[in-house]
Symmetry: C2
Subunit: 202 residues, 2 copies
């Protein structure tokens, strides 16, 4: 048997998303063999991140600064707000480099079955932010799933108000697809082709 | 842009063997979302391992104990010594569960081109261990590569002595193959079919 501590590390990594037992072993052995150059810097980086990471109180992004790097960036357009389900979706849009506004992470989608209503989803705070940021455009970038589109329609109806343009990223996103799995090219197209939703006020 | 610290972590993980940018992102996001249950225990485990890990002064295995878990196990047969190139090979043999003796990690293979001779490979210490452990069987489990087999022949000739049976794991191992990539079944077969090498003394 390999030593218990090292076996524990391998087991830990082999349960992570995207890693299996073989890659976990190779990964751990690599770290142990490069203690000074890799293992110790990794521990420092993880410890620093763990100490400082928090949900951005503005948008809900995860970052070691609060407000997060995006919310505190003066060059971002604070009047353009993009609504996403999860932090992974926000990161996917950031990788595309096509969006210059700020975000709002809902934390999920409406689901009557699971008892998830607007109050569970940071929707009340979304309304506050639209007012305080004097948002002129709200872009809905929810996943193209049944729950995502239900939430999409709910938000379009609920948030409609004079002077607020509500858009949705284009249906270049394949049905059943999730933002985190898409290539940046598709996301760029979807953002460029965003369309104004028909609301009672418009 | 995602925050610099988090981006740094993703970059670090995406350069690890077996991980790419996408799996690194999913992995980091998973850790950040489960700070208490996953990230903090991982830091503790890594820090503890980094503090205690070292090369076993006996066999050359990497472990948080010295002598390592294998060398200090009283139930292992100290008279049966198995020579491997790397720690990864030792771990592969341990996973097969077919070997009950102890190991000796050479740290590589002989290579005239790269200037690696016996003194660079813990071969002098191997001779000492054979004497002090009163080894009765020496099993060579080097990779079936040109360098591995050259080293195999060198060791068989160099270490031959009365009372020492020198065996080599069977050629069930495919040519060009490396132990770390093989399934345990093949390794079990190869260990069971080990054969005595023809030396001048035998």
């Amino acid at each position: 048997m390999v030593g218990a501590d090292i076996e524990g590390l391998i087991k830990f990594f082999s349960k992570m998303p995207g890693l299996g037992p073989r890659s976990a072993r190779r990964f751990v052995l690599y770290l142990l063999k490069h203690k000074q150059q890799k293992l110790l810097p990794l521990i420092d980086l993880l410890a620093h991140t763990a100490e400082h990471v928090s949900e951005c109180t503005e948008c809900g992004n995860l970052d070691t600064e609060n407000p997060c790097t995006i919310c505190s960036n003066q060059r971002r357009n604070k009047a353009h707000l993009c609504v996403v389900e999860h932090v992974a979706d926000l990161w996917a849009l950031e990788r595309s480099g096509a969006f210059q506004g700020i975000y709002h992470v809902l934390g999920g989608t409406l689901s009557a079955l699971d008892g998830i209503g607007p109050d569970e989803l940071r929707i009340p705070y979304l309304k506050q932010r639209i007012q305080s940021n004097q948002t002129t455009e709200l872009t809905l970038a929810l996943n193209v799933t049944l729950e995502g589109q239900t939430t999409n329609h709910y938000l379009a109806a609920e948030l409609a108000s004079p002077g607020l343009k509500i858009t949705s990223i284009a249906h270049g996103v394949p049905l059943g697809g999730e933002l985190d799995y898409l290539d940046s090219g598709t996301l760029i197209t979807a953002l460029a082709a965003r369309r104004t939703l028909e609301t009672e006020e418009s």
